[in-house]
């Protein structure tokens, strides 16, 4: 068990290393000279050469990468020119807000998706099944950024039940109820697609498991149908669904980009969109790297959870 978790951790290291190479390579591929970009087009060639030397840009790419990696491991992601503060500070501040949003959405989609999928499988071909199957289709076809706008129109503009944007109220906010009120719409919107995907997979996994011999055994020994479905079948289906929840973490983290823009959530997604627009590439680099690394860790967690459920993996 522990050795398995250790093994997974060891496997995660080359993935993280690969991520860093890709992110570094992407930034290195950007056409144009960063020194010229920083100094402006009126800079003298001497000034440009000096800045290039200062930034280490006159070194070979491989050496530049390892210098960059060394700084990265010490928590130094460079400095954002547009914001005039260290990228690491900005990224981690924003990442906290994204984690709150994405975490709640992930919790929501796992719980709702499992419940809907099981309900549909248990009443296969019945009305629950038809409604869930149809909602799944609607869910994966709905642009989340549009759904967010519709929810704002309904709950913020028409009904005035929920705040339309931000993470906390500007005056007198900051407590948990305030956060939850601001969180409700973005979290639900972000969870919709993932809920649909998890529900669909849970349904398929449950139907598959319910046909297995060991379910027949469970019935043959006189267990109640409730125990057969919600304990024996559910546990086996969970083994198939957990990795999917891990993958959905990636879609939720990525989808947060839209939702944070729609709801003005002060997270890393909105920061990235702004940084791309202002060509603040170090900020983009830092943001992408941190979110990608957290996705690797989410998948690691899913692996560990799966091992806890399935003794055959230990």
């Amino acid at each position: 068990m522990w050795s398995y978790i250790g093994k997974r951790l060891v496997v995660a290291v080359p993935i993280l290393f690969g991520l860093s190479v890709i992110v570094f390579a992407m930034m290195a591929m950007i056409p144009g000279d960063p020194a010229t970009a920083i100094l402006g087009s009126y800079a003298t060639p001497e000034n440009i050469a000096r800045l290039n030397r200062q930034l280490g840009l006159d070194q070979p790419l491989v050496q530049q990468y390892f210098t960059w990696l060394g700084n990265l491991l010490q928590g130094d992601l460079g400095r954002s020119y547009a914001l005039n503060r260290p990228v690491a500070d900005e990224v981690f501040e924003r990442f906290g807000a994204t984690l709150v949003l994405a975490g709640s959405a992930l919790l929501l989609c796992a719980v709702l998706g499992l419940i809907a999928g099981i309900a549909a499988a248990v009443r296969q071909f019945g009305w629950t099944d038809r409604v869930v199957t149809f909602l799944v289709l609607v869910g994966i076809s709905t642009p989340s950024f549009w759904l967010g706008l519709l929810l704002i129109m309904l709950f913020a503009v028409q009904l005035r039940w929920l705040p339309a944007s931000g993470m906390f109220a500007i005056y007198g906010g900051g407590d948990l109820p305030d956060l939850l009120a601001h969180l409700a719409m973005p979290a639900v919107t972000l969870a919709v697609v993932a809920t649909a995907v998890i529900a669909r997979l849970t349904r398929a996994a449950m139907l598959e498991v319910l046909r297995q011999d060991y379910i027949r055994t469970a019935r043959a020994k006189g267990l109640s149908e409730r125990r057969v479905v919600y304990w024996h079948a559910f546990k086996a289906a969970l083994v198939a669904v957990i990795p999917v929840i891990g993958i959905q973490a990636g879609f939720v983290l990525g989808g947060a980009v839209y939702i944070e823009t729609v709801f003005q959530w002060p997270g890393i997604g909105r920061m990235l969109v702004n940084a791309i627009a202002t060509r603040d590439l170090l900020l983009v680099q830092g943001g992408v790297l941190v979110v990608a690394a957290s996705y690797v860790l989410f998948n690691l967690l899913a692996d560990v959870a799966q091992t806890l459920v399935d003794p055959r993996l230990r």
Partner: protein, 650 residues
Amino acid sequence: MVSLALGRRSAAAASGRPSPFRLLVANRLSALGLAVLVAIAALAVLTPLLPLPDPDVTDPAQRLLRPGAEGALLGTDHLGRDILSRLLWGTRVSILVGLSATAIAALAGSLIGLVAGYAGGATDSVLMRGIDLVMAFPYILLALGIVAVLGPGLLNALYAIAIVNVPFFARNIRGITLGLARREFVDAARLSGASHPAVLFGEVLPNVLPTIVVTMSTTVGWMILETAGLSFLGLGAQPPQADLGSMLGEGRKLLFTAPHVSVIPGLMIFALVMSINLVGDGIRDVLDPRLKSGALAAPGAATAVRRDTIPDAPAPGPVLAVDGLRTEFRTGDRVYKAVGGVDLTLAPGERVGLVGESGSGKSVTALSLLRLVPTPPGTITGGRVTIGGDDQLAASDEALRRLRGGRVAYVFQDPLTTLHPLFTVGDQVMEAVRAHQPLSARAARARAIELLERVQIPSAAARFDAYPHELSGGMRQRVCIAMALANDPELIVADEPTTALDVTVQAQVLKLLRSLSEERGSAVLFITHDFGVVSELCDRVAVMYAGRIVEIGPTAEVLAAPAHPYTAKLIDCVPVLGQPERRLDAIEGLPPAVDRLPEGCAFAERCPFAEARCRDGDISLDNLSGDPLSGDPLSGDRAARCVKPLWGEA
């Protein structure tokens, strides 16, 4: 990958082999999606011909008109541009971008998948590790990174979305190619001197094409959605050019004053993506039925019972009385009569073998006793199963549950698949105990360990916490037997319990079953295809063929002098230790398909003694002594379903 239960049955009910298009249309939702998609596509194609205002001409005097305004069917935006015109032009752009991204992703991804799967080895690992790395990024985030590198713009957004979708194609296609690359026809092409590219594109590609199409149809909706998303963020289409996403993005700023500016393009994206997904599902179901998730129905708690007539209650006494049991499987318009009228009675403590080839209906008979035949497709259509004086086929769910594992316990064939892989064997035995006895966890645990000891599992207390995969096949089957014994059943139904085991282990398990049944006085109904096993264990034997019992009698007598030609053939199939020169007569031909049973004797086709009257009408199971059958299990009666048995009174 969405499965749709709606409308599926109408597709399944269609007879013959309908064309793929008919199958697609037969799925009502897919047909609806196709209609919507065709309508949108037609509008997009015809847009330049329609009498629409220029989508980019601004008219500040006419700004933010509501839908339905004169001259602007869907109103105007903040610059006074006609929304209907922009919507249709934008739809064109979005569809074009989505299709192009899909084509690029399909081309690049399929190529990577084909090469990786075909070349294998180092090429495969390098390519697939690269794909893994791309997948290690959250989907949209990578697209954002790519746009950051290339700069905002519709074309760059298109490339970004195409790149992040490459892995889906690469993985799917590689999987299929890997299997194909080792197939005979590929080897044959290679040996005939064809070059690698010729083999890859001439032989392999045509076989992976359906998978490529399925993957395209399931990802194109996503790609339209995601390129619209990038445009929404201002990273895709740049003004004045408009796609659906950028229209939505501009409308967002007018959310409070003019909601229609953002609602309308969003609705169009939704309709477009939804219809594509519906059609994609349909295409997937038609081209690749195996992917149809949940297409096969999961069985319910008990077999459905729909009986026309119910036989009278039998005389009390036997632990089990089966009277005229019939079980059918229905798929589409076919009816398979797996069990076609079985009568069988077991006295307390009696061990009876039920013997037959696979497909003879012996297992279905065994499962029907406690309604464990999966419904759908199985239905019990007739007869009576009396256990403990009650007609079990009329029992309530709760009464049935009490019988299962209580009075009657089952032991199944393959102990690896019949034990739950995620629970310890101790837990599973304990559960069997507690399903019928109100014991505390501690008492149930003690009882479970005692049961494991009784089936001679060494160091049972330590094995309690083992998982099934940690035990050998023989040990697993002992656990299954321990579960069956948990509540001292009157009857153990053992469905080929030794078939999956080694010969030496088989003998041990048989010995165990025998001693346990003697010790506890449990009756055993032993299902097997092996006469050798029957002779070691059973007092009586019933031989099944094509869903009916064709001969029944005391084991020793039947073995010594079989009356039915089929029984004789079956006994000839048993190898005898020490007689290696004995010819093993395989029975020529195959049993009849149970959806088209012949008139008369079902064995007539394969019987060396068959004559015309064998094929004339139903043949009854008659007492070989010529007396009427008593139905008493202890009478020692022998009976056969044959017009001219090998011996006895015909």
